[in-house]
Symmetry: C2
Subunit: 449 residues, 2 copies
């Protein structure tokens, strides 16, 4: 995206790095990335964004232009800048793979490296994994609300910027969307592109039916006609006329799209108009301010909608645009560390998350344990994905990640997938981790006097 | 950001373009960008993002790789792809300059060009101006809530992606923030960088005061010490000790930072501790989940906070992460057009916005009029910024844009700047525009029969 992302960092990452450098602190540090609290109405999150983090770490280097800029700020020492010039990420990354579910307090990623290398990545790592996990979670919730329907990502115009639009397409696809409207994302990630037409297309013609005919002529096998520019019901009759003309020419209208008004009433009326004209194969697409809540309401009211185009509210995770995801030092030079700030306590030491399976293959609970604890059973979720600064294996294909999520969601009890205030999934802290936490806390409190 | 943004478009921009091409529709079209409804608690928006739109339009071209990708989708005609290969944006753009206030229904930007050129930019244009206007508006609200205080952008870790983080820094600076934490944004936009230290810095040392001393040694004239890693009050006493050591060495501690807990109580206690140690010059920074609402509450409670670091909630415009901003065709081939969809009616024709001034230099109201109407008085807000596909003038410097916003905010009545449900600013539709709207509506309705 940008060649030189080394400066994509909060200034304090670099000032702390200089202080570490000047103190001669080059020992190994481990940082954990996790959320403390669920965003509203969530009881699970989907891991996403790891791919970008690994790219970033593999390519991390300070260009001469970046070093010159840092020098110009006037607070960096020339020996430290020389050190930065040769800095590469040489550490390891353990992570819960993309597409897997994770829960509060669980490290979704741990970085172990000389402290400067591990600290510097904080801003980028949180940035990418936080928002991609939020967007994938929102998308997964939409899929859960629309069983049997298809979803398409229409979010590009309302996401916060270019990067967000491209990643939204990828997040939606991981969640099970059938397509994205964004052509660049489609090219980059190999996601099927889809699209219909805008109101401007209709209004550029003197009358609606001429616009429908022109579009059908250009795309005889891919046409989706937008009905609501002037009047949705009139639009539906015009679409029927054009669909019949298409049939006569050996083609089929794919779908019609509703973009405003009362979707329950309109979809039922339009379905009836289509069916009465023997156009049962023509699907109905709805779009405009839809997310899991609206989709659920529409389907509860039996709105005969086949495809939902979701944009605005999904592309910004409107009801949960942020989380409290944090990247915290948990060990330095072999010493486990933690934070005691009010409501911001962290768990010390490198950790592993074990996911148990019951006899039906469902997840009854997770256990967070020190990474060196004998497995309490279940599946160890964090995998070593980078070692010595290089990926340990090629990244999984996007459709594998999509399958991973589908599989995890099947194994999660339905109660935790509810749209409104779902009960939390049980996450236990192993006895060893509890003991370590108490130990570290008491050491700190002794030091505090 | 990305060299080849031509494919950063919803697929339908390109399918519609092919249909226009095949219909021989190359006449001039005008599109208006506007919002219909204010996001919650807003009665003004700040224009931002134009700079990126002009860059995009000046550089719009389809690379061979992009054309190859489009061909591979299998729905584009080879003559049309040949046409795309040579396509450049040759049109004009009129816009309300960055940093100016705009209101519902007012076109913040109008594009006039051969219809294909004007249509293709829709996705990018909405994407950039929508989110940048939202972030600048949120930032301006924070400034309004914190008179006499300094604000710093700490949002990079929670914005939705890289583009959003960089633009957030710029939006905050337009709104009056003193600095950004993002070093890349600081380099790119010439914004002062700022930063403090993370909890991880503290916990990498065995005891807190050693971390404070190390940081002060590295940054004797720029140190801001973070107090809440273990206990804010203990942290404050440690900071006093280090500040006194710094004084003895001829330096001054700049500030201390609170990042959790009850900011009202803690800031008062910490201020007292600092003052009792004759450290009145040491400022207090607060950060952590702050936006205009929290800042307002803190200052109402007389919390002695000098600097607010705003991140999470500002960087995603948490209470208003989206708007209904739309880019609508308003004229084609000399014919004014509009949409009649439920609650999505648009105003036909190219328009101008006139802002009146009262005798005190304040804004009493705006008037939206057809662009060719004799000025009803006041200042015409839309300026021609691009003509024949090229900028008509160099872009204003960032501090000029910042001054523009400060100036506009001074002239807006305070009532419209309220944080909660402010009354709407009066925006009138000129008699001519009302008449044109009725005329176009009745023509459409006749056609609908």
């Amino acid at each position: 995206m940008i060649d030189d992302l080394a400066l994509f960092a909060d200034l304090y990452e670099l000032t702390m790095a200089q202080a570490f450098y000047q103190q001669g602190m080059f020992a190994q540090a481990t940082y954990s990335l996790f959320i403390r609290q669920y965003p509203p109405n969530r009881a699970f999150l989907v891991a996403a964004g790891l791919e970008d983090v690994l790219d970033y770490l593999e390519n991390l280097r300070f260009s001469q232009a970046s070093l010159d800029y840092l020098r110009s700020i006037g607070i960096f020492d020339s020996n430290f800048l020389k050190y930065l010039k040769d800095l590469r990420f040489t550490g390891s990354v353990r992570a819960i793979p993309e597409g897997r579910l994770f829960f509060t307090d669980e490290p979704v990623l741990e970085v172990t490296a000389p402290i400067i290398e591990a600290q510097i990545g904080e801003t980028f790592i949180i940035n990418q994994i936080n928002f991609q996990s939020l967007l994938t979670t929102k998308s997964a919730r939409c899929m859960l609300a629309a069983p049997g329907c298809s979803l398409a990502d229409f979010g590009s115009r309302r996401t916060h910027g270019i990067d967000a639009a491209l990643k939204m397409a990828r997040c939606g696809y991981i969640a099970g969307f059938q397509s994205t409207s964004n052509v660049l994302a489609s090219q980059r990630y190999g996601i099927p592109p889809s699209g219909t037409m805008a109101h401007s297309f209709i209004s550029s013609f003197a009358v609606e039916i001429d616009a429908f005919r022109a579009y059908a002529a250009s795309f005889p096998d891919r046409a989706v006609l937008l009905l609501d520019t002037y009047d949705t019901i009139e639009g539906a009759y015009n679409a029927v006329t054009v669909a019949k003309e298409m049939e006569a020419a050996g083609h089929k209208l794919v779908a019609v799209r509703l973009d405003s008004g009362n979707f329950v009433d309109l979809s039922k009326q339009v379905r009836r108009i289509l069916d009465q004209a023997d156009l049962r194969y023509v699907k109905i697409v709805a779009s405009g301010g839809l997310d899991e809540y609206e989709i659920d309401t529409l389907l509860q009211c039996h709105a005969p909608i086949d495809i939902f185009g979701v944009g605005t509210k999904v592309g910004v995770s409107a009801d949960a645009p942020w989380s409290d995801m944090a990247y915290k030092l948990v060990a330095y030079n072999g010493r486990p560390v933690m934070k005691l700030s009010t409501e911001k306590v962290s768990l010390p030491g490198a950790k592993q998350v074990f996911r148990l399976y019951d006899t039906n293959g469902k997840f009854p609970r997770d256990i967070i344990a020190p990474s060196d604890e004998n497995p309490p059973g279940g599946e160890a979720l964090l995998q070593t994905v980078m070692s010595g600064g290089r990926r340990t294996a090629p990244s999984p294909r996007l459709d594998v990640i999509r399958g991973t999520l589908a599989n995890d969601l099947r194994r999660l009890d339905d109660s935790h997938k509810g749209l409104y205030n779902p009960p939390h999934y049980p996450v236990a802290i192993s006895a060893n981790l509890q003991q370590l936490t108490l130990q570290v806390r008491s050491t700190i409190q002794e030091d505090l006097g």
